[in-house]
Symmetry: C2
DNA sequence: TTTATTTATCGTAATATTGCAATATAATAT
DNA sequence: ATATTATATTGCAATATTACGATAAATAAA
């Protein structure tokens, strides 16, 4: 127990869940918004920007990197993170599929 | 520690995170898809449909209900669940805001 | 080489999530 | 009233998440 039974769900359901879980934290939402806002990618100023410890930010970045939403390239001493367009697109498409399935009231409750 | 520091994030960031967290599980995605697919709302056939124990399904339903994504009305012995249009709309809008902020490559990494 | 800077990793404490059996609750039917 | 059916709640074990201090690793500057 305590372990999600992924084997009983479809690949898409599991994939979407994994991507959404990576987004489902205010710090990671803030990190992504900051990466998007500061066109020039992002380095370690996230630690100042948000009020979390460096280790915590690094951990959140790794989670986003693990599911592929962002990617990082070493740039001298620091690391530059940015959106991975491909995965970002997959996420958007899967979300669209999900939301488009719903068409207004089913008129029941 | 072990507790998300919501106080350092905006209301919107926290709200979106809470909604996404409710979605971020394959069982809850499957439940929503089933509710959407079977127009006539849904009752307890989710237990048969997905392969999870009744207590587990009930728990997932409660989580979705807690954040307002679905609502349930008693219908005789059973309960009929359906999408809460208002919250569904809020979620879609907040997601749109989030994704629309990103416009193509930032051209950095 | 030594030092500073930046990021990653490890270890750990506190808390949350997942899943289920057992049981409780609520509504209908007999 | 009693039985039946459907859903909710409780309690628990296994695992995951969140946050952070301490420390390691990697690069650049002196």
């Amino acid at each position: 127990m305590g372990l999600t039974r992924t084997e009983i769900f479809t690949l898409e359901q599991n994939q979407l869940a994994v991507l959404l879980k990576a987004l489902a934290h205010p710090a990671r939402i803030a990190i992504l918004q900051h990466i998007i806002a500061t066109k020039s990618c992002v380095c370690g100023d996230l630690v100042e920007e948000l009020g979390l410890a460096q280790a915590t930010i690094s951990q959140h970045l790794r989670e986003l990197k693990n599911v592929g939403i962002i990617q990082g390239t070493i740039e001298g001493v620091s690391v530059c993170y940015c959106i991975n367009e491909e995965v970002w697109g997959v996420l958007q498409e899967q979300l669209n599929n999900f939301f488009n399935a719903y068409r207004g009231t089913s008129g029941c409750c």
